[in-house]
Symmetry: C2
Subunit: 337 residues, 2 copies
DNA sequence: ATCGCATATGTTCACGTGAACACGATGCAG
DNA sequence: CTGCATCGTGTTCACGTGAACATATGCGAT
């Protein structure tokens, strides 16, 4: 049935020892050229593929990279995963995906599953919440945090988005359009990114000469409904003429409120999203937003992941985000046909 | 360094044989209850996690599922992968993702990589092109084809979208709006789905009492640029007043032409897309399209994947697509701010 | 007491790979 | 032609797990 071709079966075929085969296939110098060629030719003919499990058992490292994302539907994460998968191909890494839904329990289980397969590296967007007892699963694992930083009880590399400047520009852009009451919707203080973006927003207000008003800063979980709920609340309260978003899902949620609102309700209201999915260029005449260098983030992630943990120094890199000005005053959706 | 907790290290700790530990952890009956409890407690305390590689080597099956998709940015594939990943979690399966970009060579390499890790099942959207010599990598693998069918030189299950009726409805919907010259953009005959959708389109024309015109049926690779190029061509030629799409990427490409065109160029032109990403509900006032039961497809895929190949009978299931009527005459993008 | 059987535990082995070591053959310096 | 390095190849072992087989203990029936 599952008569797999192994180094030993090749050795039997050729009447030699399995070590000669092993050496020939890994281009070890101490093999006669003709032996090497015979082995390599035969291996190709019978379709030999190395057994990753056997290598893993020897402690040679698994070449498995785990990816933990809140979800993979949001286009930022999807695009990140897409580029990462391609880069992993280039690095001969196996990419295992787990979705956390930003839930610490689910994240913990994902780490455990990755421990099972002895993942070499784990790239993850840390879920909000207290330090979980993941460290048991991180022994000898190369941990790479994405976008957010969180203490894991052991050294970890991180790949961050530096969006301070871009968010400031967004606020100044809105101020330049005459907005004086600008609301903010972001993730709460449990996330490092939530803290940083909120600070960037307030710094932006300050440098635009506007006062910061606690009531216009609305925080919550980094999800669609937080965006939806808070956008509706801010607009209904009527004490805001523009909204800046500080999160991918939050941005989509808030945007949905703008697009589905009556024309009158959001007439003249300004909106700046977060993240730049392809369709933002079209929605409502073009959504102004904060864009990040997704492909670069992913390539850097693959680069960091392609190292045995012991030889990977802890590494921290930031990639600058940019403000994309489009049609900041969105056109709501035309009445459906 | 990597002092992993193993069944043997636990045995040493407790001064018993590793087999007693193995039996206790797998709830084998022949273990004294107190021994079992002692082992399980200790295992939990020291954070034992089973070694997947060792199990794989014994031929116990790897619980690894490979997923081969053209890309993971298109929201259909992203959503499929998202639900599949969650379902795999439920089934305790490890999900490895590979992107084929619809290229047979890349697909072949992906199969080889999955062979390396002895994937138990592979779920894939077959790339267009001739039969590749993948069969060498499919020994003892549970093959599940998604959306498209292609001979792999060995039995394979398949999960398909039955879109004949929905495409027919789309054509009739357009005919009902007065369109007489309806163009079609789809994948060419190398894909089973390309053949089926084209046939469905022509059947739709027939049942709407319209003649089929070869020149209005444009085929190509299942990608964005095919949609873009052919939509532009059909609209410029001016012998078409509506377009039906037969592919996810094709639909996005064609849609981009509508949204970026001058108001005059597409005034009154009808459009029906393929696939139903969330933003189709908003773009251009709402895009009419063919929607599929993505979550159901993914759950069924996980179900089929969670079987040792030898015990998985070949299985063929179809899920009915539906036509979603929205604002069939799209509003182009308003001039940007 | 002896046998037989069930229960609980221990020992050995295989899986595929490659490091470590062992061995014979060749070459070359003394 | 001896001694010793080098080259090509072979043998053994470990990695973690669990099946198969082996052993020990207890207990009831004869």
């Amino acid at each position: 049935m599952s008569n797999r071709v192994t180094i030993k079966s090749i050795a039997r075929d050729l009447g030699i020892s399995h070590m000669t085969v092993s050496r020939a296939l890994s281009d070890h110098p101490n093999v006669r050229p003709d032996t090497r060629k015979a082995v390599q030719d035969h291996a190709r003919k019978v379709g030999y593929v190395k057994n990753a499990a056997a290598k893993a058992m020897r402690g040679d490292g698994t070449k498995i990279v785990g990816l933990l994302l809140p979800n993979i539907v949001n286009e930022f994460y999807a695009r990140f995963a897409n580029t990462l998968a391609q880069s992993c191909e280039d690095h001969s890494l196996h990419l295992i995906i787990h979705l956390t839904n930003d839930d610490p329990e689910t994240e913990l289980r994902a780490f455990e599953r990755l421990h099972e397969v002895q993942a070499m590296s784990v790239i993850h967007v840390p879920a909000p919440g207290a330090v979980r007892n993941v460290s048991a699963h991180l022994n000898g694992v190369n941990v790479i945090q994405l976008i957010r930083e969180q203490d894991m009880g052991q050294p970890a590399s991180s790949i961050l988005v530096e969006d301070h400047r871009a968010i400031g520009e967004a606020v100044q852009h809105l101020a330049g359009l005459g907005h004086r009451s600008i609301g903010y919707i972001g993730a709460d203080e449990r996330l490092s990114s939530g803290r940083a973006r909120r600070a960037a927003f307030e710094a932006g207000l300050a440098s635009a000469g506007l006062a910061s008003d606690e009531r216009l800063i609305t925080l919550g979980a980094p999800d669609f409904s937080t965006g939806q709920r808070n956008a509706a609340r801010l607009l209904e309260a009527g004490n805001v003429t523009a909204i800046v978003c500080g999160g991918f899902e939050i941005s989509n949620g808030a945007l949905s409120v703008f697009l589905e609102a009556d024309q009158g309700a959001v007439e003249g209201a300004g909106f700046v999203g977060y993240g730049d999915p392809s369709y933002y260029a079209w929605l409502g005449g073009g959504v102004s937003t904060i864009a990040m260098q997704v492909d670069e983030l992913a390539q850097e992630a693959a680069r960091l992941a392609d190292c045995r943990p012991e030889e990977q120094p802890v590494n921290k890199r930031s990639f600058e985000a940019s403000f994309v000005a489009r049609n900041t005053h969105l056109a709501p959706m035309r009445g459906g046909g």
